[in-house]
């Protein structure tokens, strides 16, 4: 295991949780009802908390006085390694909730693997985060079932969300060089994730998904993103870039 791979992988985990957290954060004050507004912002805060743990670890590995803030606010689009799924726009509640379900079940499988991984810091962060992630899986997948197996309109919205987001899930299971170096078993991740998602889709009366039925985008893990990320980063990084080093 090289240190560079460990840094890249840690940044992949940090970036993915930060970017999805930033996306979900847009819902704050605009959730469909007060209780769900609080629920999704709780998830958001969990994700940003996880990203801080990963950024702090990456900064420590990089050394030379690197800080979590530098990593979050002073890297450009091409340096971000987040999964493409995380940067996709919020769309409606169906799309937001489905994106969360896809990612939370992925996190659950990945963090379970990290528990037994060689790096003790990543295992410790994974262990702490898994409790949060299990709740995210439960909360978001229940919403997929409610909307999928709800009214005609909610079913149609969920179908549209699946069509919109499905091309971005394949990337999760294509190992980046740093994942191969760290011996992340993407094949097991994929089959466990597919089993879990298939079960959710069955209960939600959605057609069974297939990873081979459509073109899958890749690139996020290596810094090639959709156009959506640039706008997101502009907003996320604006204050630090305009007033370097400013503190709240």
């Amino acid at each position: 295991m090289t240190n560079a791979s460990l840094i890249d992988f840690t940044l992949y985990l940090a970036d993915s949780t930060l970017i999805l957290g930033q996306r979900n954060g847009d819902w704050c004050g605009h959730g469909p009802v007060l209780e769900q507004d609080i629920a999704i912002t709780n998830v958001t805060l969990d994700l940003i908390g996880q990203s801080r743990s990963f950024y702090q670890y990456a900064a420590q590995l990089i050394g030379n006085g690197c800080t979590e803030d530098q990593l979050a606010y002073w890297r450009n689009e091409r340096e971000f390694k987040n999964a493409l799924l995380c940067e996709r726009p919020n769309g409606d509640w169906a799309q937001t909730i489905l994106r969360q379900t896809f990612f939370s079940f992925y996190q659950r499988e990945l963090f379970t693997q990290l528990l037994h991984g060689a790096d003790t810091t990543l295992s410790a962060i994974a262990e702490k985060s898994l409790k949060e992630v299990r709740y995210h899986c439960r909360w978001s997948s229940e919403w997929v079932c409610r909307l999928g197996d709800g009214t005609q309109e909610s079913h149609e919205r969920m179908l549209a969300a699946v069509e919109n987001l499905w091309p971005y899930v394949g990337e999760l299971f294509v190992a980046a060089p740093y994942e191969t170096a760290l011996q992340i078993d993407t094949a097991t991740l994929k089959s466990n994730w597919m089993d879990a998602i298939t079960a959710v889709f069955t209960e939600a009366t959605l057609p069974p998904p297939s990873l081979t039925s459509t073109f899958m985008h890749t690139g996020g893990k290596n810094g090639q993103h959709t156009e959506a990320l640039g706008y997101l980063l502009a907003e996320l990084q604006y204050v630090q870039r305009s007033y370097p080093g400013c503190e709240w």
């Binding site: 847009d26 605009h30 009802v33 919020n90 409606d92 509640w93 439960r138 409610r146």
Partner: protein, 120 residues
């Protein structure tokens, strides 16, 4: 004509938020009200902490978890649909409660406690 729309922090209107305007139109009237009871620690009773809206009991428990236990307030949650709770009538207050007011002998205040007894 208003050319510049000025927003204050936390006051961005929905049409400018970037978030979608999905979801039920009038959930507050569609979803029933639930009363929430939280047990703060083992051995203590569940206490009423407030109410919230939810589509069913499962969602009510999760909403209660998110709304009322974010700061580690509890280890157990009960929810019950508000309409299942029968309340005493306010106009019956006189006959229900006032007769107890002059029965001071019902308070155990006429006993001398030995100094050795603590926590009474």
């Amino acid at each position: 004509m208003q050319l510049i729309r000025k927003f204050y922090y936390g006051d961005i209107p929905d049409d400018a938020s970037g978030a979608a305007k999905a979801g039920p139109a009038k959930p507050a009237s569609d979803w029933p009200l639930w009363e929430v009871f939280i047990r703060s620690k083992q051995g203590l009773e569940h206490k009423h902490v407030g109410s919230l809206h939810a589509a069913d009991a499962t969602m009510a428990i999760e909403n209660a978890r998110d709304v009322y236990t974010r700061r580690s307030e509890g280890i157990s949650i009960w929810v019950v649909e508000s309409h299942h709770i029968k309340t005493s009538a306010p106009e019956a207050a006189a006959e229900l409660y006032e007769p107890a007011q002059d029965k001071i002998y019902r308070h155990p205040t006429f006993y001398d406690l030995p100094d050795e007894i603590k926590h009474m």
